[in-house]
């Protein structure tokens, strides 16, 4: 078997059995990066030397019996909004164009402890604000299924790198769909864990009450294995939760008999592409045939999720991004008159258009006189949305629906109308508002040859039910890939 065709768990097993060395795996993936980057541009930074050095160190530990975890020796790509000690971390923004962190984020440290080889940092929408990876200051990433289309975003580089074989798995972050939507567009598996599952320490904040780190990978087994490594309680993140049920791989069971699956009727209305609709409903049918109890219901409030999200996320972003002031790190303008002029010029030159748009909106909704009408109102609607999900999960184990209304749009079609782009987040965004886990996996290919994503949503800390349902569906669906690759 070609090394690049292996899943992360499959490669680790092959390394353990001495069929492949960590160096061979790292060299194979670096060669793939070299060959494909000109086409897809998944990475902002590739650390070739560092990766080969790590490969040697990890191999020694495996040989000495110090490392024997399910992902030991597997090369991984990290979204460029997670700090990596000694490695450029740009958030795909000009304002952090030269930022080299002095520490690593907790999720990255957890992977390294488990024997991961860090290949580099993946491209993203600037500060994770966007749905196409086109707002990056370092060029657009292209969809490996068809380079005329976007990979989705904001974790577009991570999703594309997995799809293109430029890594074996990747970390992304999800504030309103930024793991699930690119996973859907690139035909890979992505999981946004329950808020508080994975430490946000070292994740450069966008919307702190919504941000969560999670895996992008080739299959559900990889997803469960990665989650076992990154879901830890961390005292450095006060929203990190103490948790016991982190044995996610125990949920890799091909059985959905009696699993109660709810299909929100409101997710299948106007705006949903008929091909996406058919593929998602077909997946529900497959689960029903395997013994799941599938029924439709009214979730309600779906149309209010986007305005709620953009109010809260913009408000938090305007506060979080105040730290970029040209003093401690990052870009500083060349000519200025005094301190305040320096702040303003550095920020105005350093941030891109979408980031400025959200900072402006956030500053407005938090400003005196508008705070109650906009920000507090959004927090009240958030409570209603959470309640609607609580009621749904009293009846169902899993909610099933599409990830996005369409498959990947063409490059250059989305940014001209921000509001239209925001509407593409309609099925993913409420999951972040309610703090829930959501999993995206491929369930079909449309007539343009682009992958279609299925979304499974669970109640808080019920990732295992998602993994079990996804695993059972994956078994029935069979291997997934481009027709020309088969």
């Amino acid at each position: 078997m070609n090394i690049l065709d292996m899943t992360a768990v499959g490669l680790a097993a092959a390394i353990k059995n001495k069929e492949v060395t960590v160096r061979q795996a790292t060299e194979a993936v670096l060669a793939q990066i070299e060959e494909k980057e000109a086409d897809f541009h998944c990475y902002v930074t590739v650390d070739k030397e560092g990766a080969l050095k790590q490969a040697e160190e990890v191999q020694k530990k495996i040989d000495a019996g110090e490392l024997d975890g399910p992902l030991a020796g597997v090369p991984v790509a990290i979204k460029d909004n997670m700090c990596t000690e000694g490695m450029l971390t740009t958030c795909s923004s000009k304002i952090l164009g030269n930022f080299v962190p002095t520490f690593s984020s907790e999720a990255v440290l957890n992977l390294q402890k488990a024997g991961a080889v860090i290949l580099g940092k993946t491209n993203m929408d600037e500060f994770a604000m966007g749905s196409t990876t086109e707002t990056s200051a370092y060029g657009v990433t292209k969809n490996p299924w068809n380079p005329e289309h976007v990979p989705g975003g904001s974790s577009g580089g991570s999703a594309a790198a997995v799809a293109a074989g430029e890594c074996f798995y990747a970390l992304g972050s999800d504030t309103g769909g930024s793991i699930r939507q690119p996973a859907s567009f690139c035909g890979v598996v992505g999981l946004k864990p329950t808020y508080g599952r994975v430490s946000r320490y070292g994740l450069i904040a966008y919307g702190s009450s919504l941000d969560q780190i999670g895996p992008l990978c080739k299959d559900v087994t990889d997803c469960a294995a990665i989650m076992e490594i990154i879901a830890t309680h961390d005292l450095k993140d006060s929203t990190s939760v103490e948790q016991e049920d982190t044995d996610f791989t125990s949920a890799l069971v091909d059985d959905v008999k009696g699993m109660r699956i709810g299909i929100p009727k409101d997710y299948f209305g106007e705006g949903l592409d008929p091909e996406v609709k058919d593929a998602v409903l077909k997946a529900a049918e497959v689960l029903k045939e395997k013994g799941a109890v599938v029924e439709e219901f009214d979730l309600s409030l779906v149309e209010y999720a986007i305005p709620t999200y953009y109010t809260i996320a913009a408000a938090e972003a305007s506060s979080n991004l105040e730290r970029f002031d040209g003093i401690k790190y990052g870009y500083r303008t060349e000519e200025y008159e005094g301190l305040h002029n320096m702040y303003k010029k550095s920020r105005s030159e350093g941030f891109g258009a979408e980031v400025k748009r959200r900072i402006m909106l956030g500053s407005f909704v938090l400003s005196s006189g508008y705070y109650d009408a906009y920000y507090l109102k959004a927090l009240r609607v958030k409570a209603l949305i959470k309640k609607a999900f609580d009621e749904a999960f009293a009846k169902y184990d899993v909610i099933l629906g599409p990830v996005a209304p369409t498959t990947a749009p063409k490059l250059g079609e989305s940014l001209s109308d921000p509001l239209k782009m925001y509407l593409g987040d309609i099925y993913t965004i409420s999951v972040n508002l309610a703090g829930l886990p959501g999993l995206s996996m491929p369930c079909g290919i449309d007539s343009k040859g682009l992958p279609i994503g299925l979304q499974l949503i669970g109640d808080c800390f019920n990732e295992k039910k998602l993994i079990q349902t996804a695993y059972a569906y994956e078994k029935a669906r069979g291997a997934f890939g481009r027709k020309e690759d088969k």
């Binding site: 149309e303 709620t308 003093i327 005094g338 301190l339 400025k356």
Partner: protein, 97 residues
């Protein structure tokens, strides 16, 4: 468009956001913010009387830990990221005249 954003509002928000927008950017910002607010106004359709604003989905209380230093002296590495440095400190433009 129901929400008309005035020049004064954009100036004021620019001060809060510490952003200096060009004339063209200001016009665009007025348009963008107006249409976003029109959209957000949709939330007004919902009766939220008596609903507590939810800032956090789980009941989180203050989280305490011992204040113990775990990292070493990283002054040099940290200052390497600073646009201005002087005598082992961050250099900033003159603040008082």
């Amino acid at each position: 468009m129901a929400n008309i954003i005035s020049d004064e509002t954009i100036e004021y928000v620019g001060i809060l956001a510490k952003l200096e927008l060009s004339g063209e950017e200001k016009e665009q910002a007025k348009k963008d913010m107006g249409s976003m607010l029109d959209y957000i106004d949709k939330l007004g359709e919902l009766d939220t009387e008596g609903v507590e604003p939810m800032s956090h989905v789980f009941p989180v209380k203050n989280v305490f830990r011992e204040d113990v230093v775990t990292n070493g002296d990283m002054r040099e590495e940290i200052l390497k990221n600073a646009p201005g440095e002087k005598n082992g400190m961050f250099a900033v433009p003159r603040t008082f005249e």
